[in-house]
Symmetry: C2
Subunit: 171 residues, 2 copies
Amino acid sequence: MALGKDYVNQACAMARALELVGERWTLLIVRDAFYGVRRYSDFLAHLHMPRAVLAERLHLLTEGGVLVKQPAENSSREEYVLTPRGEALWPVLAALSAWATQELLEGEASWFYRHAECGTLLPDRLTCTTCKVRIHPREVLMEPGPGADLTRTDPVSVACRSPRRLLQPIR
Amino acid sequence: MALGKDYVNQACAMARALELVGERWTLLIVRDAFYGVRRYSDFLAHLHMPRAVLAERLHLLTEGGVLVKQPAENSSREEYVLTPRGEALWPVLAALSAWATQELLEGEASWFYRHAECGTLLPDRLTCTTCKVRIHPREVLMEPGPGADLTRTDPVSVACRSPRRLLQPIR
């Protein structure tokens, strides 16, 4: 069923957020951007989503100030990079992923998240219990957990087989 | 464009979460459940969404163990109530709503959230900086902020004009 893009009469912040990031696939695109994906072709190969939908979602996220489209370094390509507004979505993704790991995967994590500086596991992806600080995603190291699928051969999946910092560009 | 319900090849927790709560409207239904909405007719009047979509989403959330359908007290009606798995979604909603208030509404909150016990405002909706404790949503008091729409006359909007605890049943 076709639904309008906005939530009429839902003046609250949640509804505004969902107008921007509540479309199908949108938060997976944002997740991939945290993994360091910047190229259209890499989003496409990793997400296996229809091209038209990917293009539309990237446009929506750029219009909404979550991503910025910019020339890639040393290349004529363009790439999509999280803005500060986009990086501020980390607590949302962190909460969703922590909830799903606990509730839907029975704790069998696809990824482990650690504080890059000290190696402490970050169950909430946000705070280091050793250093007693809030962690920017740039300081978060992700590594495959028992639930990770290590058989995929696209560039994003290959890059994510080894421990890597969030937001570090892939390629 | 029609998309499958599942995210093929996206084994991660985020994708699993979004299969369950990433459909359009679903998180607004969950938000309403935190506001204390339990009746089908109240969800319908407050969310202004198509009946068929509401019924389908309530079914999905019940199947997924986020809501449970149970007989209402002192009534032959049935109602939808958050399970512990559903209540565990509070950090997700809190993060989305905090992000949108900051980034999209320029800080003009629709609602303020306070620790019911001490009255301290909870910018992250999760932790009381005065009591230094993590707050269960049951201990959170919501009240209209400068961005609230106070003109609506459905039972949910009317109940939410006065300060009330999250999860306290409406009617």
